[in-house]
């Protein structure tokens, strides 16, 4: 049969020579290779003690942001939920009452805000859609769990720690964000 292209390379298999049929040289060669690997650099890391650095564009768990005074940024506009291709986000908006100015930055806020982490594909479209800088993707990932229900993260799990009441937690959560923006 004529070949379709002239790039065809015909391989001819020679019968094994005597040295090849002995197999021992090939075995010794293979053993030399495995032996040399003893001294090579280990490809693995000791995980819990040692962690691989994330790439600068890594997108992990969502965090609901607060401003410097600890007020929630989210206005429950629903743009993130619309943008979400996996339909992982649900929310319920509520109007801010008179004495709640220290809690919420704008007149409307999210009374309920849930992200289903099993549906979420961590694409980051919610972060891009948000006009208020109220949601961003951090550098952690969802820890494993036994129930499906526990993967639906509610507002208390998503909110960043309060910058005044829990300064340390806020700073710790904030660091990765600041570094990410720098890059």
């Amino acid at each position: 049969m004529a070949s379709l292209t002239n790039r065809v390379k015909v391989l001819e298999q020679q019968p094994l020579s005597f040295m090849e049929r002995l197999y021992l040289p090939a075995i010794f060669k293979g053993m030399a290779i495995t032996f040399s690997h003893i001294f090579k650099k280990k490809a693995t890391i000791r995980y819990p003690e040692e962690k691989r650095p994330f790439s600068p564009v890594f997108r992990g768990l969502q965090v609901l942001n607060r401003d410097e005074e600890g007020r929630e940024n989210c206005t429950a506009c629903g743009l993130c939920a619309v943008a979400c291709p996996a339909e992982a986000i649900t929310m319920e908006g509520a109007e801010r009452q008179k004495n709640e100015e220290h809690l919420y930055r704008e007149e409307k806020y999210a009374a309920k805000y849930e992200i289903n982490m099993l549906r979420c594909i961590f694409c980051g479209l919610c972060e891009e859609a948000c006009p208020k800088d109220a949601i961003y993707l951090s550098e952690t990932f969802a820890p494993s769990n036994f129930t499906r229900k526990s993967f639906i993260y509610s507002k208390d799990e998503l909110l960043i720690p309060h910058p005044i009441n829990d300064k340390e937690g806020y700073d710790a959560a904030r660091v990765s964000r600041v570094e990410k923006l720098k890059k």
Binding site: I27, G30, M31, I33, T34, F35, H37, I38, K40, K41, K42, A43, T44, R46
Partner: protein
């Protein structure tokens, strides 16, 4: 029948020795499992077990505990008695061989000369053969009584493999025995020790390289180690003959494999590598200045380092060479090793006759 009328001290001494050697083999086998995982890891650019204890040294203990606490399942349709007997037989035959291996020369304690060999029988090598040939029953009985087709196939494979390679093993040893003229392991070691360069030139491997190679290949096959681990080929037979086993019964099977490896390494070192001979050192002159006991201990260390090398070789080969196909295995055994061993035997006989003329 004077043989049976012995003093109590001898019985006590032998019992202590038996206990010591059994404990020793078990501990070594335990740590061989650990070494196997470490060797596999470093050869694959990994780290290996390092969680339990420093450097993961407690890993074998953790594994043993895990096996002990696992639920014990005996299949409903299995033959219960034989199902339980299988792993026990495997373990017993694995341990039995150590009786005739000389672990060192004699030491002197409390004015008694204590030989570091349980039984110096004049048919030592044949005894090893006998026990090895019985080792197949553990596999066969376990595989058959599980009442599972995979186990049965594995058992049949294992049995035919072991019988086939026993022939080549025996033939390769006959050449060695023609040289030594004795079947006693102790005599063979002593003959090797009397060679030049402090015993090194007496090592049988220098005179029987082909015999050694054949013997080594057969030992790999008898221990069911890769590349001959067809009875437990996990991708075709799920897990082979111990598929239905769980808990410590499975542990016994896995453990017996490592004990077998240890004992086979000891046999190979004894027959071909001078046993407890320390190369380039004349033990007799050393004993005059340092005393018998220290030299005996050094000899034991020498034997042990040889064993450790062979154990490493077992693992090294396992993580290098893929498994044989079944017809290749039979081809190698019957069509290559047996004719080679026969040729080796005839050449050795001619050479011996030539020199004796």
């Amino acid at each position: 029948m004077e043989m049976l009328q012995v003093d109590m001290m001898l019985i006590l001494e032998k019992l202590l020795l038996i206990g010591g050697i059994i404990t020793f083999s078990l501990v070594i086998a335990m740590y061989t499992t650990y070494a196997e995982r470490k060797v596999a890891a470093v050869m694959q650019d990994r780290v290996g077990p390092n969680r339990a204890g420093p450097f993961g040294l407690l890993q074998p203990l953790a594994d043993g505990l895990k096996l002990f606490f696992k639920e014990e399942i005996i299949p409903l349709t299995s033959n219960k008695l034989l199902f339980v007997m299988g792993p026990a037989l495997s373990m017993v035959t694995a341990m039995l061989t150590s009786a005739v291996i000389p672990w060192g020369s004699s030491i002197h304690i409390f004015g008694r000369e204590v030989s570091l060999q349980i039984a110096d029988v004049n048919i030592g090598i044949l005894y090893v053969f006998g026990v090895v040939s019985l080792g197949v029953y553990g596999i066969m009985i376990g595989g058959w009584s599980s009442n599972n087709k995979f186990s049965l196939i594995a058992a049949v494979r294992g049995a035919s493999q072991i019988i086939s390679y026993e022939l080549a093993m025996g033939l390769s040893l006959i050449a060695l025995l023609m040289m030594t003229g004795s079947l006693s392991m102790k005599t063979i070691v002593e003959q090797q020790m009397s060679g030049g360069w402090g015993g090194f030139l007496g090592w049988n491997v220098l005179y029987q390289p082909l015999g050694f190679l054949i013997f080594l290949i057969c030992v790999f096959a008898e221990c069911n180690r890769t590349p001959f681990d067809l009875p437990e080929a996990e991708n075709e037979l799920n897990f082979g003959y111990h598929q239905e086993y769980s808990s410590m019964k499975l542990g016994f099977y896995l453990f017996a494999e490592y004990v077998n490896m240890f004992i086979s390494s000891a046999v190979v070192s004894t027959l071909f590598f001078g046993g407890y001979d320390i190369p380039f050192v004349n033990e007799a002159t050393l004993a005059l200045s340092w005393g018998d006991n220290i030299v005996a201990m050094l000899g034991f260390v020498s034997l042990f380092s040889k064993i450790a090398f062979f154990l490493f070789l077992f693992m090294w080969v396992r993580w290098t060479i893929p498994r044989f196909r079944y017809d290749q295995l039979m081809d190698l055994g019957w069509k290559k090793l047996i004719p080679l061993a026969l040729a080796n035997m005839i050449i050795t006989a001619i050479v011996i006759l030539w020199f004796n003329k």
